[in-house]
Amino acid sequence: MDAFSSLIEGFATALTPTNLMFAFIGVLLGTAIGVLPGIGPAMTVALLLPLTRGLDVTTALIMFAGIYYGGMYGGSTTSILLNTPGESASVVTAIEGNKMARAGRAAQALATAAIGSFVAGTIATLGLALLAPTVAKWAVQISPADKFSIMVLAFIAVTSVLGSSRVRGLASLGLGLTIGLIGIDATTGQQRLTFGIPGLADGIGVVVVAVGLFAVGESLWTAAHLRRRPIEVIPVGNPRMNRQDWSRSWKPWLRGTVIGFPFGAIPAGGAEIPTFLSYVTEKKLSKHPEEFGKGAIEGVAGPEATNNASAAGGLVPLLTLGIPTTATAAVMLAAISSYGIQPGPRLFATEPELVWGLIASLFIGNTVLLVLNLPMAPLWARLLRIPRTYLYAGILFFASLGAYASNASTFDLFLLLAIGALGFMMRRFGLPLLPAIIGVILGPFAEEELRRALQISNGDVSGLIEPFSIVVYGIVALVLLWPIARKLLPRKAVPEVLAETAHEIEESHHQHGLTTAVSVERRPEDEIRRKFDRSQDSDSGG
């Protein structure tokens, strides 16, 4: 019951009029920005980060909780009405959701997404509240060596889960880690990779990196290939559902929650695989399998619930271990540490007011989301019609504003363009963005743990090997050597539902017109795994 009393105190923190107002503003802004095509949740959080600079830390985090959920729901709206998933996790929503919208059932699709997100988000946040203190208690005891090993796992997982183009994932990770190295080394005070430029001494601000890679990179990339045709948006009324829609939706919502939360909670998760898993599950269990591919409501309800549940689950490793598994979580980590607070096992002991206030505000954010989005859906739909020239001009305008405002430095604007150019190059050559952003943000923490571990062992590398970390490195090796391990397994060993999930992922990417790349060995299963990898990369918002 400990968690419950803490949670009630958390509500006391979050429910002050000021904090409630900022939760509200957060949801509103998050949805408004997140609904814009081409802007995913991570970019939304990064763009809105500077707005919270004047707030105290608890209020800022509460506002972030609103932005986080608002940004995600905005992405779903875009997927349903425009068939343009702003992030990999809503790719599935677009499959059935857009079909429903085209069949004149946009209102029902939006309603089942909103209510499903609410149900799943609430249950999963409850899961977070119950699970996180236990994990934190356990995590306090783990050594720096163990922690370093989990971070290595997170690096490898975002780089190469089921991907055959892991070379490109690793390249992206290396670039991110390099950016993370720039600046003064905290232990010795020596400048690394600053080349005597004073503006680099403090390192490159996370806002600059995230906004540069996502917002500026995206704008430049779009500028190079702008589709100069008007875009078709499906008009929508107020979201509503009839009795049949309800009876077809509630089970997928609950199943989606059960699938999404654990995937989010393991430090190697991500949201794409669980959403596809949910889709395939619903297709198998549905009484109307023939409707799948033509706009089945279960195909929206399940994956949307999964997406939200895995987002809440993702806060478990973020808050208890300081390890982000999605680009959005990485930006949140950076936001939290910019207040001088390091998320990790001690957070629950040292900052209970902040943590529980944040968790309580997740519940509030979720509720606000529902209250706000059902009546405001027609307005969001109108935002989708914003002319592309103004959209990208606006993105660059606010990107520059945010980057400048966080440090009042012109130099940051030049850096922003340089990192935007890097983002352009990565999009051009198929380097995923997620490993880079995780590398930038998690890299310095990993280095700190590594050096602490080796300090304890007095420089002996065997100090990194402990019973727990051996297990973790075993998993890392398995992930890295998966292509070889896979060949040793008989083909039938892959469960049918997983094979079908992979197939669906491939199908959806074809639908979205993503081009086919050639891999080292052109075997079909490589292709499928590459597709997995490909969509893993951007949670970033494409």
Partner: protein, 170 residues
């Protein structure tokens, strides 16, 4: 569906070798600059500031070699798609140059002219670069955005932005 947006596969292959070269060069730069770090008098612990950069640099060098092998054997990176994106034409460098110019104009002018004006130039310039030809309407939106965000940040959020030549007016 092929991944080469323009020209032949070989042409794309050449630029992909460029990526491998870039990664290798960055890796070497990281390693060399780490090895050139002076001995620190206040170093604590057995691991100095050079160890991790050397590891990261080595990762990049190794990856660049593997990427080069991958490209040589026919592997190609997949350009990112999207609803506003039309792959298949070439890269529109002219538009990119105009967008970058608008962006740099803001960076150079933000302090002398102030954010309300430099930001408006940025917005108008990017809209123009992307093909908007409603000059007056764009200018009005740009100025409203510039002045509006200035007031929002300075008065609403307490974050100072350069006021430049509009000092005393705003």
């Amino acid at each position: 569906m092929t991944s080469a947006p323009r020209g032949s596969t070989e042409e794309q292959g050449r630029s992909e070798f460029g990526v491998a070269l870039f990664l290798g060069a960055v890796g070497l730069l990281v390693i060399v600059s780490a090895l050139l770090l002076p001995e620190s008098a206040i170093a604590r612990g057995p691991v100095g500031p050079a160890a991790v950069p050397v590891a990261v640099g080595s990762l990049l060098v190794v990856v660049s070699v593997f990427l080069a092998i991958d490209v040589w054997r026919g592997g190609r990176g997949e350009p990112e798609g999207g609803e506003d994106i039309e792959l298949g034409g070439g890269t529109d460098w002219r538009t990119i140059a105009m967008v970058a110019a608008a962006f740099l104009a803001n960076a150079f002018l933000i302090e002398p002219l102030g954010w309300p004006i430099s930001g408006a130039i940025l917005f108008w310039g990017v809209a123009f670069a992307l093909g908007s030809r409603h000059y007056i309407r764009d200018a009005i939106i740009a100025v409203v955005l510039g002045v509006g965000t200035w007031y929002l940040f300075v008065l609403g959020l307490g974050i100072s932005l350069p006021v430049g030549i509009l000092k005393g007016i705003l």
